[in-house]
Symmetry: C2
Subunit: 341 residues, 2 copies
DNA sequence: ATTAGCACTTAAGGACTCGGAGTGCTAGGA
DNA sequence: TCCTAGCACTCCGAGTCCTTAAGTGCTAAT
């Protein structure tokens, strides 16, 4: 059905349309992309490609543009991820290695990706799920309040203020807090976060009765902060790059979708091994407002452990090989940097 | 020079242009804003207003639109901040009070402001400058590394990994860390952050020699994290609202300016008592890309202490009374909520 | 000081034309 | 059987022209 030449034509159409942003016709194709055949032949191929739904024409007597399905085929079979130049890789390395902080790593990564791809970049914070407990700290804040700080081996810090029920407030002594801290760290230290709930389940029973209200309050907050999916934290940048593009959907819809972080999470979050590139094209995105965009994403992490994902959002009409190269490269470096922390 | 009627005309022009987004002519003015005079009279006034630079016409035979100077006069003398309705205030209250976390307060505030004003909202994190040290925690991470966590009374938590110089690495004993923690909290606890550098200056001298390398490393990181202006952290939301507006400058320029957080900080940061509303109109903004936008900002804080600022960015053609009302109201509530934490 | 009347300007929108790019189809050639 | 040349057809987009509506500035009268 699709012989080599037809595929070559499709590739040429995608590349042409991506670079010029104008529907590409048979004559232009024949002259520029020396395919060795006449425009008429190309037209015949185009008809076939159109019947199969890979390309479409905006109106009669216009050139062809790729459909979502066409881009999909292009990405899957007709293109190779374009590796970055040595200079680009050095730039990434030096730009990211200057970060002191998990926050800063994420912020810089976003800016880097946006700049590299000239699109909107999205980076998810490293997930708590694959971390272990490094330390749990309890700090009496005076009154009936205690601050709980959870530190993970991946450098993540979660803090929460714990409000202890009023009647038992007088029992918050430094001794009790210190005791609880010791016990907590003994029981939960080094455990995977997913194991913590089980590990602390029968902890209050082991404590003297007067310390139990405090322990109960702290534990409920701790468990709560584990349940909350903190990998839902994302940072976005490069929205200015959207202004240059004209979407078939309104720019407003796209911006709105991007601002709903929950949506973003779904987009990045679905499926995908770490270091695997995921490309979602046009209507493949479940969210309505993003039907005219494509999303290229990858997981990053330490070793083969996926900590989180990052990616870029751009028009379906994007430079896939280049974008994929940039996303992959950045994901790798970020993984390294996070590991180094 | 500017009698009452001319001012009334200016006000009518501003209000008309803001609501219709079209240049407003003398006839429309006379009929809608019953000023009790004929169009011809209004025209005469318009000529005077134009000579003084308060209004301009895009081209001959078009109506007038206000200039930056015109908006300025309108804001300063012709308008009153419009208070929010009771329902709106209740909505703010309930929306903000659900936040558990400083991060969440900020995030929710941004979304709230954006929704209320239908513009881009910007919220600065509470500054460290006006906080006191609640607690400093040190956690050995194994090897030559220690995590330092600084907790302030305003609920802010700063964490840093401290790398202790290699040769002295063996000296990181739990005893030394605990000792340093105790001493640090004794010396710095309850102090204003600005006082901390002085307070800890001669601390190493008081320690046994084998603990000094550790102390020196921790202190240098601590001081560094105090110097870094963490009130430079800002969160932005509602960019989708920009899509609806057409700026004289390109949308891209505006988005770019907004993404440069440093620029935002300058914009919000300059001058202004807490609870004072600042309005910067058009070219009054130092940044080129924002010459066609106005910024309404206010400080928020506990009592009369300004912790940080928040504001919105919109087209110069904005509903100033309403926007100012929303910004003021949100600033007040956020101040309260932060205090309550 | 205000108003009515009038001539003038200008952008926006609609109708029309025209050229170019591109197509589909058919018939002839390797 | 596949490719190519040629040709008639379609349709968008740019350009031109015209008209309309809104608005102005000026002058003279109240």
């Amino acid at each position: 059905m699709l012989d080599d030449r037809k595929l070559a034509v499709l590739r040429a159409i995608v590349e042409g349309y991506v670079s010029t942003n104008e529907p590409v016709g048979s004559k232009a194709l024949a002259s520029r992309h020396n395919l060795g055949v006449s425009p008429a032949t190309i037209r015949n191929d185009m008809v076939a490609l159109e019947e199969d739904g890979y390309i479409a024409q905006p109106h009669t007597s216009a050139g062809r543009i790729p459909t979502d399905k066409g881009y999909r085929l292009f990405v899957d079979r007709l293109s190779a991820v374009r590796p970055l130049s040595a200079a680009e890789r050095r730039a990434i390395e030096s730009f990211l290695s200057g970060a002191v902080d998990l926050d800063e790593i994420v912020t810089r990564t976003v800016r880097l990706l946006a700049q590299l791809t000239r699109q909107v970049a999205v980076v998810q914070y490293p997930s708590l799920t694959h971390s272990t407990v490094q330390h749990i700290e309890l700090v009496p804040l005076g009154g009936t309040r205690v601050m709980m700080v959870l530190i993970t081996d991946t450098g993540r810090v979660e803090q929460r203020v714990v409000e202890v029920a009023e009647e038992s407030g007088e029992n918050i002594t430094n001794v009790a807090v210190e005791h609880l801290r010791t016990v907590l760290n003994t029981v939960a230290g080094g455990k995977w976060l997913t194991e913590v709930p089980d590990a602390v389940a029968d902890l209050p029973a082991q404590l003297p009765p007067e310390e139990r209200p405090l322990a109960a309050s702290v534990l409920s907050v701790l468990l709560e902060s584990l349940v909350e999916r903190h990998d839902e934290k994302v940072v976005m940048g490069g929205t200015a790059n959207l202004a240059a593009v004209d979407f078939s959907a309104s720019l407003r819809d796209v911006l709105e979708a991007l601002e709903e972080h929950v949506v973003l999470m779904r987009l990045l979050g679905e499926a995908g091994d770490p270091s695997m590139l995921t490309v979602r094209i046009g209507a493949e995105n479940s969210h309505e407002g993003l039907h005219s965009t494509s999303i290229v994403s990858a997981g990053y992490g330490v070793g083969d452990q996926a900590l989180a994902k990052l990616g870029v959002v751009g028009p379906t009409r994007m430079d896939y090989p280049g974008t994929m190269g940039a996303v992959r490269a950045v994901a790798r470096y970020v993984g390294e940097i996070v590991a180094r922390q």
